[in-house]
């Protein structure tokens, strides 16, 4: 009798767990199906390579793709070195104590600050105070700040996965602390750091609020050119999507274009996440067998 109850309990447990997993997959599949079925029709070469025309009722989204690309690049350049160096300092050099605990707490809290607050802050600091104006640079810096806590946390976690014995082994052979970190810690931590960074970046690439304050344009008529575009306003995929789906004067007519934009954005983010997965996979393989 008792036996039976235990079995039932187990079966119930499994069902709940399995159901939770299934729900996640169903939601994702539904979103993807919705976007794909409504947006795939407008995807063609012109949509990807042309700028919007006729009051955004025709043409493509090329300027928004380029804008998102350059903003993301600035974000990476800001976020990756600062984030990695901070993590190395916190995890390897800093004397663990109250100050470090406060810094860690600050970083965790920073990752919970709403993105629109970052937008406002970036506007005040980069656009106005540092006089960078409404530009790719201002937006990239703002998104860099936004992703920083993610980069730091992911990098610290990656450093923590490197066994203490690697550090001790190197130190015992007369390596300096920096040599130990450079030759026997970082090589094993960098892939993990990159994985976290890419995930953070994927999140940043889809953000609207921070760039709204700092440089994104409703419509920027010239095709963006490097490098002058860095100091100009720009179009970006998430904001373009927002405009097309809520602010446009012919909202029903452009709905397929909005879905097409969403599809491209999702595709870019899936692509970035895939890169993260590939890096992580290689990392694991390398860890196991050199």
């Amino acid at each position: 009798m008792k036996r039976k109850w235990r079995d039932m309990e187990q079966a119930l447990g499994f069902t709940v767990l399995r159901l939770s997993a299934v729900i996640i997959i169903v939601i994702l599949a539904f979103i993807l199906y919705d976007v794909f079925s409504k947006g795939a029709g407008v995807i063609n070469w012109e949509f990807l390579s042309d700028k919007p025309r006729k009051g955004m009722t025709e043409g493509g989204i090329w300027p928004a793709i380029v804008g998102t690309f350059w903003v993301s690049l600035v974000t990476v350049i800001v976020s990756v070195p600062i984030g990695m160096f901070t993590a190395i300092y916190l995890n390897e050099y800093a004397k663990q104590g109250r100050l470090i605990r406060i810094i860690r707490l600050a970083i965790r809290n920073l990752s919970g600050v709403p993105s629109i607050v970052y937008g406002l802050f970036g506007f005040a600091l980069f656009t106005l105070m540092l006089n960078l104006g409404l530009s790719v640079i201002s937006s990239g810096l703002t998104l860099g700040l936004l992703t920083l806590p993610w980069t730091i946390t992911a990098s610290e976690e990656a450093l923590k996965t490197v066994p203490r014995s690697y550090r001790e082994g190197a130190l015992a052979l007369g390596a300096t602390k920096w040599q130990t970190i450079r030759t026997n810690v970082l090589p094993y931590a960098v892939p993990g750091m990159l994985t976290g960074t890419i995930l953070g970046l994927a999140r940043a690439a889809g953000e609207t609020a921070p760039i709204l304050f700092t440089g994104v344009a409703f419509f920027w008529p010239v095709l963006p050119k490097f490098p002058q575009m860095l100091s100009q306003q720009f179009m970006a995929l998430p904001y373009h999507l927002f405009i097309m789906s809520t602010q446009h004067h012919e909202i029903v007519k452009v709905r397929p274009l909005a879905y097409g934009t969403a599809l491209v954005l999702i595709f870019l983010i899936v692509l970035m996440n895939s890169v993260a997965v590939v890096i992580r996979y290689r990392f694991r393989k390398k860890y196991k067998r050199v």
Partner: protein
């Protein structure tokens, strides 16, 4: 005693408020094997790690007293710890090969010490692997991962890695505790060979091992050095009751 290459004077060690080593004074003779024995938590590993300042990396630790190596106190402010660890090598309890090739593991110490000459490195790698009785087993697969070696081979690789930078002293922290009897025997034979060129200090849980490989034995208990002397005398005719109880297996 002949020539003391390394000795401590009234050495005390603290983890925060915990007094882990109490007033230890003892010396290691050159080209001899000194074994540190005692029950878990007696401070023998802490003592070993104090000898090349590996405890420095543990936050909240503190030392008093002296550890004299080559006539100088290694805890003096102006001592270069990196240089010290080059001269006093260490082999850990759990073999810790780096996830690199066998060759690169042994070459690592040379590399970080600035050696770039490929033929010198290759010679030294062979010499060290031979010294660690591993060369014949790995000479055909030096570029393979060190992690594919067996446990005993990995530990001998770690010994080879320590030999490569030609230390004067090798500290071994229970080097055979995770190995099977055959691999253990190989390590013990190796220790016997190595003392011709090196001074060895070994921590061990295994009393037979201490009796087999060492010339001198120090018995630690609760952070104190209870008895220290010739291995043969410690095991056959200990002066103190506590030592006798431990070496005869009455507690431990």
């Amino acid at each position: 005693m002949d020539e003391l290459i390394l000795y401590t004077e009234h050495f005390n060690f603290y983890y925060g408020n915990f007094h882990a080593l109490k007033n230890i004074s003892m010396g290691m003779e050159a080209h001899k094997v000194t074994a540190l024995i005692g029950p878990s938590g007696c401070g023998k590993s802490t003592f070993l790690r104090s000898l090349n300042r590996m405890n420095d990396i543990i936050p909240g630790t503190r030392v008093e007293g002296k550890v004299i190596f080559d006539g100088n106190d290694i805890y003096e402010k102006n001592v270069d710890v990196v240089d010290l660890r080059r001269k006093i090598g260490m082999v850990f309890q759990k073999s810790n090969p780096f996830p690199k090739s066998i060759f690169d593991n042994v070459a690592y110490g040379l590399y970080i010490n600035g050696e770039r000459n490929k033929s010198i490195i290759a010679d030294r790698v062979e010499e060290s692997l031979t010294g660690a009785a591993l060369w014949d087993e790995v000479k055909d697969r030096l570029d393979k991962s060190a992690l594919d070696l067996s446990g005993g081979q990995q530990q001998r690789l770690c010994i080879a890695r320590a030999l490569a930078i030609k230390p004067e002293i090798i500290l071994m922290d229970e080097p055979a505790s995770a190995l099977d009897p055959i691999a253990t025997q190989k390590i013990e034979e190796l220790i016997f060979e190595l003392k011709n060129e090196y001074t060895i200090v070994i921590v061990t849980h295994n009393m037979q091992q201490a009796a087999r490989v060492s010339d001198f034995t120090a018995f630690f208990y609760l952070g104190e050095l209870i008895e220290f002397g010739d291995t043969e005398r410690i095991f056959t005719n200990p002066k103190l009751k506590k030592t006798e109880d431990y070496v005869t297996g009455r507690f431990g």
